[in-house]
Amino acid sequence: MKAFSYERARTPAEAAAAAAEHEDAKFIAGGTNLLDLMKLEIETPAHLIDVNGLALDTIETTPEGGLKIGALVRNTDLAAHKRVRKDYALLTRALMAGASGQLRNKATTAGNLLQRTRCPYFYDTAQPCNKRSPGSGCAAIGGFSRQLGLVGVSDACIATHPSDMGVAMRALDAVVETVKPDGETRTIPVAEFHRLPGDTPHVENALEKGELITAMTLPAPVGGKHVYRKVRDRASYAFALISVGAVVQPDGTGRVAIGGVAPKPWRVEAAEADMKRGAKAVADGLFANARPTHHNEFKRTLAERTLGSVLTEARG
């Protein structure tokens, strides 16, 4: 870990402004991802801005009947929130499938969305990795890639976004709210939030330098059955091989997002038109441009089969 300076921000605008002032500043929320990466010198911020005191830890009803979730709401609290459990059960289920109780107590909504990939080569600084050090190459391509992605990937990077929460947020059409260093606020649909790697895999999202997430909002509830199925080698405390988050309406229409297959929570709205025709049709749409490796091609079959099982459960 490199030595760093540290400050506690008092308001969101102040935090964003402070971040713009420093060359290498980072916000720190729960720290459950950032600190690990700093210890391994994968992240080397010179300055940390602690955002835990920003009072962004409430969940409020929006005028449209949706929810506004503060960026600092802990994963545990978000999952346990009455309205979330009732109207956005997919989100509760996705959160509860992630990490462990201790981690969820610390992890925040914004931090979760911004957690970085679990590609094992990204974690080993002796290995080439375009995401960690642009231009150095990608050790995972041709290496051990069982966990990695097959859609939305590029020749530069095949990493996945590991979040469970993100999959639910994507299926529920969440919107990210931010404030920039100049005080300007904006909203970014979660669909547009994460960037595909292309040849710049180190650029992972739409945030600008110093831009702070203040909240995520969910539109009014869409009803339907909410199912989150996370598939993994061990029963708990493991990242998803793949996960399926689905909202299925009584008439058989619905939405589906997939985790563990792409650099972002993977949803293809056009494919959802085929929901009534079953899992195969939807999966064909979701994975139309898939480029699996030998190690991870099973994920295509697995996603389709899991979706089939989820649809059965939702209809049953």
């Binding site: 030595a3 679990r118 094992p120 974690y123 080993d124 290995q127 051990f144 029963a235 099982s309």
Partner: protein
Amino acid sequence: MPMKFNEPAGANPIDRQKVIGKPFDRIEGPLKVTGRAPYAYERHDAVENPAVGFVVGAGIAKGRIKSIDVTAARKAPGVLAVVTAETAGKLGLGKYNIAKLLGGPEIDHYHQAIAVVVAESFEQARAAAGLLRVDYAAEKGVFDLRGTKDTSVKPKPSGGDEPDSAKGDFAGAFEAAAVKLDETYTTPDHAHAMMEPHASMASWDGNKVTVWTSNQMIDWGVSDLAKTLGLPKENVRLVSPYVGGGFGGKLFLRADAVLAALGAKAAGRPVKVALPRPLVFNNTTHRPATVQRVRIGAGRDGKITAIGHETWSGNLPNGKPENAIDQTRLLYAGANRMTATRLALLNLPEGNAMRAPGEAPGLMALEIAMDEMAGKLGMDPVEFRILNDTQVDPENPERKFSQRRLSECFRIGSGRFGWSARKQPGETRDGRWLVGMGVATAFRGNLVMKSAARARLAADGRITVETDMTDIGTGTYTIIAQTTAEMLGVPLTQIDVKLGDSAFPVSAGSGGQWGANSATSGVYACCVKLREAIARQAGLDPLKADFADGQVTADGKSVALAGVANARDIVVEDGIEFGDLDKRYAQSTFGAHFVEIGVDHATGESRIRRMLAVCAAGRILNPKSARSQVIGAMTMGAGAALMEELAVDKERGFFVNHDLAGYEVPVHADIPHQEVVFLDETDPYSSPMKAKGVGELGICGVAAAVANAIYNATGVRVRDYPITLDKLLSAMPEVG
């Protein structure tokens, strides 16, 4: 003169079983659960204000260091010293090491230690370590076991065993057999993945060094540290009273101890070093991967007529093979037999012992083969095993087993588990889940090792036992106290046990599941001597003296132990040495593992529902700690079956998933229900304790029982471990 164990044990005070055989809680348990048992890295009670060393591992698998630039690191805040092979002076190689513990300029494997940076604080040392600039000349290496079959060689005999064995006419009998199986199985590299990383704290006094460490075999460690540092053995002291898990990964001297000593020397002050978690996987040893071919031929009656087992594994130069054929030489009857062990050169980190080396991976293959064979014969897998059970060494039928109740384990287990409810493959469904049952034999040799101890009776009647034996979480403290209490006829609370210090007599150490039986036997020998000394001091005839209820009694006269020793403690030292009973009789431990599993029909996820082990392993010294060993081993076996695999990058030559997020071991949710039954038995051929070991028996066969249960659930036979869902998916039923 140590006690010689040359003939089967007769009646002795241990048979009273007033203290031995009772489920006492671990006597050091309260210290551990309250955080008061200091582990090596926290010996601040022994060493004030140590500096901290951070180990740097090589970033290539094979090649040379062209240069290391330490300038920036040396200048970094708080840095006291940077030690590399260039500056360390001449270092020897330990007897139990095959690659240097401080590498350079040649690099033998990935994450081989190449430097230790010593600083005032951990953070400073780690930050400075990041400033080292290492320039490598990488070379191509060999990393893929499967590509080495043709270049592998017949290794030197290891552990007294020839690499090949043969009996009768295997080829002819196999050819002629009515029912045959010829299949190849693979097991991956496994990590010990113990909770406590390798850690040491070193302090010099002149040219003498004391190292507080985490090690299973103190005397091996002392010898090898002395050899590595070029010191006389008496100048080295190792202290390791608590070990946070080892599983074979801490049998040997490793880089943490050497670098703590070198760092302390360079810094001129005590230094502590713990391997960072990502280094544990590639810097230390692991269980090597195997490719195994099993051939079994049988008559239609189910009797095995031919059994052959060949195994391939790889290692660094001078490394040993994984003896995965071991059990096959002794486990099932059959007149015609062969085994062969081959070894390839691989430039991966060193392969070495992990919990039940040989048998653990060997049974992973053999016991699937037995299940497949039972299927071909249309026999129940339990009945097939019972039919081929033997009471003699099948290679050498004059040699009997000292005790062998394998069939009984199966019969008792079948009843308890409800084995008769098992259906044909793919026939049991519970909602989303395909459900199946599997069984396998547990078998592990009974090794014994010479072991000594010192015992002391104080004036107040307290007895202290000292031995360099280790407690690696197994319950050694408790069973040694139980042995002493039984021998001296005093309550457990009267005994103090001190372990893991090379200042104490040399013990068996903890490995090969020999620790409990051998170390308590050494303590038994020592207690026999203490009894004589006490009787004599009390003016009683040592030959007639009986020890019970805190008194020694002979010829109608009783004397309380408290008070026998006066101003001077009564101190004795003795140990035990084992003769050739283990050659004259085949000695093993036995068991049967039963597993019920559910496999999600859609995703192929396998989730264990319940497990049962029935074990026959001599006298059980403490059923609570023994059970704890077996359930832990069953859990590790479940990991081997379902998830554990060091993923090899075959180009870059290292284990990629080198942390506990990437190398998955079972969590609680994976292990819902476990039951363990011990047969009530004693084995007088094993030791005066009439005990054996259970810590490794528990893992042997588990993975195959899981594999067989998955087959019974799904009808899909997977022969490559771990049985992850990707290997099942294509053959799973339609989703519905």
